[in-house]
Subunit: 566 residues, 2 copies
């Protein structure tokens, strides 16, 4: 059987555009002799549609889209993801569904069983799980019986997951019902290292049941999430026999021969580590800018590493003519900050403006002087500088219709080392899930790829500084970034407690200080721009913390009374 | 049986503080001769704990808190809500639980069956539903068999809900198992009209099963949510025999006599309509400020109705000595804006500062002139004024440690009639779920309650204006507020589609324009301050919309080709 894996870039809510794309890929698959073309999960509406699913009109439009696609199908079978109304009187109003289309008709409808409701996923908010049933997710394609599943259905493998969240394994059910081939349609977002885990997981499932697997994933950025594609076919022994491109649309043709599923194509290789993160950020940035209707971006260039990396990513995503850099020195800016910013703009070939903020900042201080009489300078005056810069950048954004990129990294955002309405201004926080240590790694990668110092060496080697007061450096307030990032990884991504982290050998006062900073900065993150998720726990949709809360982890000290005692 | 309904104000994460409060109320209940004291859902940790529940250390601390409470209980039975670990190897790692405590021990543990996962609720993210079982949620209190349920367990009534989300009705199960009295512990947040609905719902359940009901709700504000208390006891015929205070802590003693459950106390009355919204906003503001560790607030006073109402609410919540008003006139400000702002500050007795922004605004324009050469003035210059004000207010906030209140209402936030990093600056958006028409109603209510014009008449009667250009009024850009609010209610709260709204008699181009404005302003709302939920759908946690999306509802026009066609 010849199957086409249609790894398409869906735009959330663009039902008309997604349908056109599905029809165009179907036509290409047919021209290449495929008997079946498979599209990703919820491809008619784009993943994740979130609360658009609560609009009955949206669901109706998605069903019209499905009907229209079906009416145009001939000479090939099509599997496509969409949202199905739950017509029964009890339960959530929708199913996360797949339809088999053939000869102008919807042949059958199939429902997702396992609904991810963790991290960035909210599927139990919208969907009823598909009913348990014997053969209802089997489809007959030519002489092959295929077992259909949707994304999470494939993930409840007891050997591979640390805790099984669900009691069923739909893949075991499909196998028991007689599936000869497994087909999974997905919208599985990128996280560093996830595709390597996927291959292990898929191999485990395939070996357990001895059936080949066709896995079709969405590609492209939708808000915080970047879908990496990386669709694959595995033979019945668990070998990868075909792999689609990573971070690009693709139409992968696979010939499955008999039950063993040996195919004729050779797999692509996919990017690992920092190289994969780089691709995710570039795609996420490009899609966010374009899907929001912008063509160009503006950003502040401080001469530091974060803004340099952001600018380089923007050029890679949009082209140098679509990126504008603005340096905004204050009285505390060092000479090298302007020199390094200008060198970066020159290296990248982007527009560059120099807008000193001293006179505006002084005017603020003069205006406020009568009210701040005799009070010492403090963080107030530092923040004002950052806010002047934010307002200037937003003026460029408003006047020229550039999307403003904010340049802060995950380490800063975690501990609140950033100014709300200041350097946090922007429509997209491209580095908000990239720890500072990874900022350096990505910068070195970019220079290696360019085979020249695209990002000035001085921006990489100098001590990081916010330059909001004389001779300030980040390490006046924060532990060294390698220590900070190691603690943050354990606290934010791994949800480890204070004593666990200290037991790994970290300095106790440092751990307590970092954790307190993280907990107390929640109010800033609530108002931060959306970012691009690249780790297992990004700030934003996937981490939902209360603000007005008073949980404090205290180290258990021997013999002390419990903090609960009066 | 004498039962104490302990309607307490829990702070999220403050396990030590919540435990101390539970012990203090237990002591009071015992002194009043109660055999049983009942606390709200998850009262050990405060509701909603959100992703704190993902921290194993947090769950461990909550279990320690429960143990400590149990160890101190004697001479009275206690029912308290907490988070229980799911010790089985499969399923979500926690249960939403209630424990019965007696004589220093945890007698039994009971689990919530129905897990709300809609609007602001994410319980399927954390909890496994309690297993179906016959008698496991029955508890024996003296000679009475009580049936225990948790919040949502009581809500799946087929007569009262528009769609039953769940297949079970745990109350029917408790009745069938032999419960003589129903006890429900809740954390049910305020929404206008909800308590009236609750009474109908409870009456329906009670009449169906012929058992009295004890309902104990949390009170107090935790981030966006305000819990109204309003705990009640119903006799077996569905009559309210006792009602706790609304929007205040209370310890309500109820004597249930036999199965009919006739009691001796007289019910409190509770506030309705605008008066209930007023109480919710005052409590939500007070608790947010205090639970975040602030003592005082600052806000901009424009002379308009929104800032006047915000200031009046702040004075009611915190006292006049804890509120600072700042008027920041620009070259476009009318004389009356300063006069009205000053009159309001005088009426309320709050501190008042006058900080003209003209010189700072001019300095921005001078700085930007070389880059904006020959370009017409537009929204850029208007936004700059709002951003100067935002930065000045944040300077007052930073310097004096006041929480900044932002004053925008729901109507503005819906259509994006507000400036990001400008008038949207602030830690709490107290009116972000209050439509403009309700802003007027609340202002009139405050003046009636004060029996004087606390809010100046002129602020109520003059045409609303942002005063960002000469002679501007809101109605230059927006439909009249009564029309706008009616459309927004249908679109945002009721999720109605374009054609449905038009079919109700609204002008089609106006409806299309309003809806487009709402959809295109999502990026602003993503970065807005948390607000206080008072309607069935507030912006924030309860409405999760993608930003980079392209769904556009188009009116079906007869004979036109489908938008999906190429």
């Amino acid at each position: 059987m010849r199957i086409a894996l249609a790894q398409i870039n869906c735009t959330v809510g663009d039902i008309a555009g997604n349908c056109r794309k599905i029809l165009a890929f179907t036509q290409r698959a047919k021209e290449q002799g495929a008997q079946l073309v498979v599209f990703p999960e919820l491809s008619v509406v784009g993943y994740p549609p979130r609360d658009l699913l609560l609009k009955p009109q949206f669901v109706a439009d998605n069903l019209r889209g499905l009907d229209l696609i079906a009416s145009r199908v001939s000479g090939i079978d099509v599997i496509v993801g969409y949202a199905q109304r739950n017509e029964t009187p009890v339960g959530r109003p929708l199913f996360n569904a797949a339809a088999l289309l053939r000869d102008g008709k919807i042949v059958s409808r199939h429902f997702k069983t396992l609904l991810p409701t963790y991290d960035v996923f909210d599927e139990s908010r919208y969907f009823e799980p598909g009913p348990a049933c014997d053969r209802c997710n089997l489809v007959q394609i030519a002489d092959t019986t295929a077992g259909l599943s949707i994304c999470e259905d494939l993930w409840n493998d007891e050997k591979m997951v640390s805790r099984r969240l669900y009691h069923q394994n739909p893949i075991a059910d499909l196998h028991a019902a007689g599936a000869q081939v497994l087909i999974n349609i997905s919208a599985s977002p990128f996280v560093a290292g996830k595709h390597e885990f996927r291959l292990d997981l898929f191999g485990s499932q395939v070996k357990q049941f001895g059936r080949p697997l066709i896995y079709v994933n969405q590609v492209g950025g939708n808000d915080e999430l970047v879908f990496d594609g990386n669709s694959v076919a595995l033979d019945a022994a668990g070998n990868v026999i075909a792999q689609a491109k990573d971070f690009e649309e693709d139409l992968l043709i696979v010939d499955l021969h008999g039950n063993t599923g040996n195919a004729t194509t050779t797999p692509h290789t996919h990017a690992h580590g920092a190289a994969a993160i780089y691709k995710a950020l570039v795609l996420g940035l490009r899609d966010y800018v374009h899907k929001c209707g912008f063509k160009s971006v503006v950003l502040g260039l401080s001469g530091g590493i974060d803004s340099a990396l952001t600018a380089a990513l923007a050029v890679a995503a949009l082209g140098k003519d679509k990126v504008v850099g603005v340096a905004m020195p204050s009285r505390f800016s060092s000479d090298h900050s302007i020199v390094d910013a200008e060198a970066l703009a020159h290296n990248l070939g982007i527009a560059f403006h120099l807008v000193p903020i001293r006179s505006i900042h002084e005017q603020y201080e003069n205006t406020l002087a009568p009210f701040f009489d005799r009070m010492a300078r403090d963080v107030t005056e530092e923040n004002l500088q950052a806010r002047v810069r934010g307002a200037l950048l937003m003026a460029f954004s408003n006047k020229f219709n550039h999307l403003l990129l904010t340049t802060g990294n995950k380490s800063e955002l975690a501990v609140g080392y950033c100014t709300l309405y200041g350097d946090m201004c922007g429509g997209l926080a491209i580095l908000s899930d990239v720890p500072k240590t990874m900022v350096y790694e990505l910068s070195e990668l970019i220079n290696r790829q360019a085979a020249c110092e695209l990002i000035p060496r001085n921006s990489i080697t100098k001590a990081p500084s916010a330059e909001l007061r004389p001779d300030q450096t980040d390490q006046d307030s924060l532990p060294p970034y390698d220590i900070l990032d190691a603690i943050l990884h354990r606290y934010v991504e791994e949800e480890k407690g204070v004593s666990e982290i200290i037991a790994e050998g970290f300095d106790a006062p440092t751990v307590l200080r970092v954790i307190k900073l993280v907990d107390r900065s929640e109010y800033k993150r609530r108002q931060s721009a959306p970012g691009i998720k690249v780790t297992s726990r990004a700030f934003g949709y996937g981490r939902r913390m209360p603000i007005a809360q008073r949980y404090e982890q205290v180290m258990p000290r021997h013999g002390e009374p419990s903090p609960i005692q009066e």
